[in-house]
Symmetry: C2
Subunit: 445 residues, 2 copies
């Protein structure tokens, strides 16, 4: 018997005018529309026409004036925006990034259950631990706390979320006109008293159609991977190329197995920045045109900080000069390793390196025809490097339209992507089982 081929999963990660930092500077960019609901509605509807699994929103709890000067940061708060988008779409998932460092689990669980109901079972949560002390300072703390503290809190946060979902099952609502509205015996307190949170329960909203919204995780350190292995149903991962993705996937799946979970029941979705053209030259040209919009002085100055060298003498259209190895480097290691990797993978000119860093940073960048990109995606799927991708179009809406109009049909021709939605819930699209409190896992709807 032949194995059915593995199909891809895709979220659309919506961010400003696209994931390339300079995309908003293009003459035809939607720069003026980023504060309008309709812009996001249109993107979500294009993604839904493309049959994507979900729309994905990142989040942050502060704005740095320098960052806001350089390009779009936030306009809408993601729970409220996704609630609005739920009313303009009917099938696509809606994944909301939620910081375990700044929400109480009760607020988060309630918002997520409410979004799940509003959307008819399409909510997902991407739990992150946040990044900047400036965020903490907007919520009454001086610092974020160290890695161990944040991940301890994240683990407890997710544990409580999972208990709150199920504490007020939808079946408890009986609306029996001669008897009870809600069967009080089906409501349960959770009486959580932990290091970070105290939560009595039950949740004050009956579970939505998915039982519990789909739980994503993003965060790449060892602690992040442990959290994903213990709890996540899907992961927004970061990998500059297939080898890194494979290493990551193998590591997380073995951690999941060690935690007693089915390692294949995790949907691993790395970020993907795709420049798509009908010809390779057209694709490269799209990338070049975005790179040309970068304010080059600023980008070079930023690079100088990352690599701790005087970059101003570097020839923009020549290959990046040789750099010291990671072992010899004394500055922040993570970003430097990413830069070395990008140079190794792409052999870029200085200008191209600035462009790669400006669009997605350490995430995988592909440039090519639909066939070339589909080949690459197939390879990732078949080697176990990924189950799908969090699409990060360099420019919006055009980069999304290119993917939906050119790459998706190519994948469909190859049997690698659905040709119609087969489910009504995000859980269904991703092929994840329903969580059932205290029982076996039910079939995905």
């Amino acid at each position: 018997m032949s194995q059915p081929v593995k199909q891809a999963r895709f979220n659309l990660f919506i961010y400003g005018a696209g994931h390339h930092q300079a995309a908003w500077r293009a003459p035809d960019s939607p720069a003026e529309r980023l504060g309008e609901t309709a812009y996001y509605v249109e993107l979500a509807q294009v993604a839904e026409r493309g049959l994507l699994d979900g729309v994905f929103l990142a989040d942050g709890q502060a704005v740095a004036p320098e960052a806001a000067a350089a390009g779009p940061t936030w306009f809408f708060e993601p729970f409220t925006l996704l609630s609005a988008l739920s009313q303009h779409t009917s099938r696509i998932g809606l994944v909301c990034t939620v910081s375990s460092s700044f929400y109480t689990p009760f607020h988060a669980a309630r918002m997520l259950a409410s979004l799940d109901r509003l959307s008819g079972g399409r909510a997902g949560a991407n739990v992150v631990t946040s990044m900047w002390d400036a965020e903490a300072q907007n919520h009454g703390r001086e610092t974020l706390g160290d890695h161990a503290y944040r991940y301890g809190r994240a683990d407890e946060f997710i544990t409580v979320l999972r208990q709150l979902f199920g504490s007020h099952p939808a079946a408890a609502v009986q609306a029996d006109r001669e008897g009870v509205f809600t069967d009080p015996n089906q409501l349960s307190r959770i009486d959580h008293a932990g290091e970070h949170f105290g939560v009595r329960g039950p949740l004050n909203i009956p579970d939505g159609p998915q039982g519990a919204p789909v739980l994503f995780q993003a965060g790449a350190s060892a602690q992040g991977r442990e959290l994903a292995a213990a709890h996540a149903e899907a992961i927004y991962a970061v990998a500059a190329d297939r080898q890194m993705a494979l290493d990551y996937a193998q590591d997380v799946r073995s951690r999941a197995a060690a935690a007693g979970r089915d390692p294949q029941a995790l949907a691993i979705m790395p970020g993907l920045v795709a420049y798509v053209g009908r010809t390779l030259e057209e694709a490269k040209d799209k990338q070049r045109r975005l790179n040309d919009l970068l304010p080059i002085e600023q980008a070079l100055a930023q690079l100088a900080v990352f690599v701790q060298q005087d970059t101003h003498a570097w020839e923009l259209d020549a290959p990046v000069p040789p750099l010291p190895s990671a072992a010899e480097f004394t500055g922040p290691a993570g970003r430097y390793a990413t830069i070395l990797r990008l140079i190794e993978i792409h052999q870029p000119t200085v200008r191209e390196l600035l462009g790669l860093l400006a669009a997605g940073g350490g995430h995988c960048t592909v440039v090519g025809t639909p066939e070339m990109i589909a080949d690459e995606i197939e390879l990732w799927l078949d080697t176990g490097a990924a189950d799908g991708f969090n699409l990060m179009p360099p420019n919006l809406p055009d980069g999304l339209a290119d993917f939906v109009e050119l790459v998706i049909p190519e994948l469909q021709r190859r049997g690698r992507f659905r040709t119609a939605y087969e489910h009504r819930t995000l859980r269904g699209h991703l092929g994840l089982p329903m969580p059932v409190a205290g029982g076996a896992l039910a079939q995905a709807r």
Copy 2:
């Protein structure tokens, strides 16, 4: 020159199957639909067809199993539900109750600004201090804290909200393709360091069309009135009759004047439970039919607790037996005073008293023809007892339809209600000025 007559303002307070506790038990009630988005969309659209100023949602952070058994409590979280409703309406305001006891001001300000953008300038916030320790226990605290603590926190909460709105003005967003996206000089930190909150700012969303969402307050104690006088632009008040409303309004307006504010720039909107019929008999019949749905044993038992008497021997269809004066009563004073007042105003039978308590409690109940109700509303407006009402239909959707189809046209004939929306924002509908950071108040849009 003749004075233009004062026009009424109305919010629709959406709650379950209506504000009568037994409304969901009616054979034709929407009891099965309370978890469906479409039910709320329909109500908001009827309210908008009726040209009402706003839709109003209460909120709470816990569910008591006994309360859930007796009738609908919460389904949707209000920020997410109002965000969804914003996409199905275009003019009506969207007022979200927010507890200063459980949100950080940064979260609240951001959600409100986001809702204001999603709705094109229709957001309002009803700041409350919450009611039950069970709510605190869902957010890591044992108790709510005493009145003074809660109102101290509420005052600081609103102070910070007002600073956050304005910290990221919409005009800062320039989208200048050759220059900056956001002018960093227009962003300002607020650097609030108070007893309850530490907030650095700026807010990470540019202000919505209203500059700041309209600030409502609800809370009737002396501290609640002080808070309203200091900060509120509109008030959801509670008054069993016109005299109580008048006393309340005079008190709050004189507190506002003492705080240096224009006492007339406050929109005072008491709750109103209206039973509307084409004849008085029809209106009374509607009330009777809802009262007849009350599980009488439970209601009597509850009343026994409130009045500390054995109510089981009381004749249901006879007048309420004489009760000790408030001075002689040793139990909780507030509820008892309300009951004495209801008896004085309505001279009810025991069954009728149970019905009054079950629908709106201490709020004003009117039963009559559109003409009678319009007369009463005119009297409240002209004597300064109210600027409008928070409508609490005893049953939904029918009680709303009655008001919109019968009372609104009568008020329009009398020049007491708009015949078309004249503004696009809630601030505009309510006739409130735009807040302008550090400057004079601009015209309402």
